[in-house]
Symmetry: C2
Subunit: 479 residues, 2 copies
């Protein structure tokens, strides 16, 4: 079981752009920079990916809602004066028709300030808590950095944001833990490996007590933040004066958390499993799990097509998402290329020899290995192959990532690994902000934060100041 080679992954950015358009995922040629169009095939992948997330949130007591897109400047300003601001990063609506609006509206960069005035109406007493809401919406950032399709958009057309309210700090802490488990389950379902780190003080979400982030490693060695979880404490509730009556009859400000996952989750799954031939989709999120391609042969065309149609019916009955490709104007080789590019997990070829033997030829997308199997046993074989493939994808992806997280005990090695684009480097750190920021400077990378996914006794010294280390800290070149 060997994965198909990735020849030159330093050109990951180029590969990613190419497959987005060639595989029908996202068209980035929209006339506004930083805005893209989700194409039919890409949208189906997006649907499946976010359906997994939706199911996980619904089954853990989150309620889906939908808040307005526009946020009055006055609400945003309230946040700004208390907990920092997105104001400079917002798109602003100033006119309705030809009328100048009295108050200008921001297109939501995230929805804390849209939700706050409603929470003020909804939350009265401890009996109203906890309140766990989420929505899947578009958000906007007036990016000054270079935009990249899906990875850094001005319109993030898919953003799942959860917002929870609690009676106590402890409840909010528990919620952070639940959110992390939900996100783990989500990425595990797609076989996307990650590291979980508590972001450093200087890189947390504005208004958060602390931020936890999920990072993956791209083939070019850079990390990509794919999910974040924030404990907001009472920062927003104090800014908006959102209180509840405790059991003792006293008014207290609510405690809040928020956590988000964007369309980057789709980018993650494409990136982690893809290869030189294009996309490779885990069967669980593949819009088409198996494609049937007839290999026509003189006189036998009719017989072959009939066998293909029978197989299609058979697989449909077994709840396999199947597609029969009967395009007459395309050779089998072109069809192989077409579906390989789109990452369909299993290809079923039916040719004259197969017919004679009552067999089908099966090719799995990840390894491109071929096998034949009796048509009578096809359903079982395919279901088993999909399970095997998911297991293999997971093992391979995690192995690949684990090999790119390096523990070193000196700055020189750290610098070398970062320069060679080898992924994440873990070093020891005293916990001092100045040392952390100096570390970023010295090795030319970004601090991802302190690991939340390993427990380990710290024994050694800070790579910057040499004092006794308090923590492990992760650094990487990040997208």
């Amino acid at each position: 079981m060997a994965a198909v080679k990735r020849k030159d992954w330093s050109r990951y950015g180029k590969w990613f752009r190419r497959i987005l358009i060639d595989a029908g995922i996202l068209d980035y040629r929209y006339p506004i920079k930083g805005c893209g169009v989700w194409l039919p095939y890409g949208f189906k992948i997006r649907r499946n990916v976010f359906q997994i997330l939706r199911n996980l949130l619904d089954s853990t007591g989150h309620d889906e809602t939908l808040f307005p897109l526009m946020i009055p400047e006055t609400a945003l300003a309230k946040e700004s004066s208390h907990v920092g601001s997105f104001e400079e990063e917002c798109y602003w609506v100033t006119h309705g028709g030809t009328d100048l609006l009295k108050i200008k509206y921001a297109l939501r960069p995230t929805s804390e300030t849209a939700i706050a005035p409603m929470l003020k109406l909804w939350v009265r007493s401890h009996a109203d808590l906890p309140l766990k809401l989420y929505q899947i919406v578009n958000i906007f950032r007036y990016e000054t950095k270079a935009t990249r399709p899906i990875l850094r958009m001005r319109e993030v057309s898919t953003f799942k944001e959860a917002h929870t309210s609690h009676a106590t700090f402890e409840d909010a802490e528990e919620q952070v833990k639940e959110a992390i488990i939900v996100y783990k389950d989500f990425f595990d379902a797609m076989d996307v490996p990650y590291r979980i780190s508590k972001r450093p003080e200087w890189d947390k979400f504005p208004g958060a007590l602390y931020s936890v982030a999920f990072d993956m490693i791209c083939p070019d060695g850079r990390t990509l933040q794919v999910g974040t979880v924030h404990n907001l404490g009472q920062n927003f509730s104090k800014a908006f004066d959102i209180t509840y009556e405790t059991e003792k009859g006293e008014q207290e400000h609510i405690w809040q958390t928020c956590y988000g996952i964007s369309g980057r989750a789709v980018a993650a799954v494409l990136t982690v499993h893809g290869d030189d031939y294009g996309v490779v989709l885990p069967p669980k999120i593949a819009p088409i799990q198996a494609v049937i391609i007839p290999i026509p042969y003189k006189n036998k065309a009719e017989q072959i097509n009939k066998a293909c149609k029978d197989i299609e019916i058979m697989l449909k009955k077994a709840n396999v998402q199947v597609k029969l490709d009967l395009r007459a104007d395309m050779r089998p080789g072109s069809k192989f290329y077409y579906w390989d590019l789109r990452g369909v997990p299993i290809r079923i070829e039916i040719g004259p020899k197969d017919i004679e033997q009552n067999e089908a030829t099966i090719v799995r997308r990840d390894t491109l290995e071929k096998q034949t199997c009796k048509i009578s046993g096809l359903v079982k074989t395919i279901q088993e192959l999909m399970r095997t493939m998911m297991k293999d994808l997971r093992l391979r992806a995690w192995k690949w990532m684990d090999e790119r997280v390096h523990r070193v005990d000196n700055l020189e090695d750290a610098k070398k690994l970062i320069a060679r684009k080898e992924g994440i480097v873990e070093v020891l750190w005293c916990g001092n902000v100045k040392c952390g920021q100096k570390l970023e400077e010295v090795i030319g990378a970004r601090v991802l934060g302190v690991p939340m996914d390993i427990e380990e006794k710290i024994d050694g010294n800070c790579v910057i100041c040499g004092k006794t280390a308090a923590d492990i800290i992760r650094v990487a070149i990040a997208y």
Copy 2:
């Protein structure tokens, strides 16, 4: 089988506002006028309603996509100079951060002008056609008319818009027919009755050859447009110069249609079936189809709760969406009120007597009729009751509407019916625009258009000019 009375439906507007907030559908107190928040329960209804539509579109070869929200002024202006304009009705984004944008962006009022530049890239030859796309998104209108929750919003947070491209006029005509069938199936699935009319020339969609609309009648006698289908001809493709190569190798402009359904579909289902006690949901779209309420009785509480839990498991296994209401701080009567307001189709009460007899008491929401049934036969009874209820809701709703569509042969009767808020009036018309517009003036109502859902030989004279009639024409006071 009698429906629960609607006491004073002239106050429908007030009733509708009340149930939106009281039943947890939509909160309209957001700090921007014309923008509302979909609440958890309302969002679940919305999900079910739009899932029906999604399934219908998917199964008729439509592909879901997602286009950017912002449309450059230049693209909108192109439409404006050729086919009329939404420009005066748009919200405009003029700033990114503190930068003045070189070109201002409109928040989509509808997406023809967002899609057009992409179609220009995608459509090359006849082999690319037909192309049937749709998306479910928010759209924006800077309404100068009074806004109303769901019915007339500035942010229409739920809008399903389909956009199709074709090689010939005939293909576009066929597509209009398919769209009408899809919409009929959609409203039929929710038991919402309608009339289908071809809108008059002076009320068609800007840029359309013609527009077809679905109207329902609200309890106050006013009609509500709940769906529209437009044949755009080549108006947009000429404005944006979108051509394809025909089989003969010639360049021709594509033919287009578009059709939309908004969150009004949710308003429709609430309005059509609701009564003085609140919402009544057809089982097909009810987030909770049956609620189990224990009627506690001294010493027997434990036994009763156990029976309730057993019933919950039994119904879940049978795929009934069930909710067991065990709230300890609420009396049964208050729970009845609570769930009746939210329109849960079936209520199951378990009290001490029921337990003794191994029975359950079942109440159907639409008629509030009670019956008892053995617990062993409960699943079957409930499934049957849901089917009966759907049939009854449909019959009742259609009967109600049919009684409010009046055919009259003179202006006086038409005026009287409109003044008495009796719904839709059908009269004979010569087909002349001037007569149509005069009709609106004289009877103080709006022309809905010519029926698309009845075939009938026209025999008589225009109620305005007295000349030979060419068509039936519908008039009503419209929302």
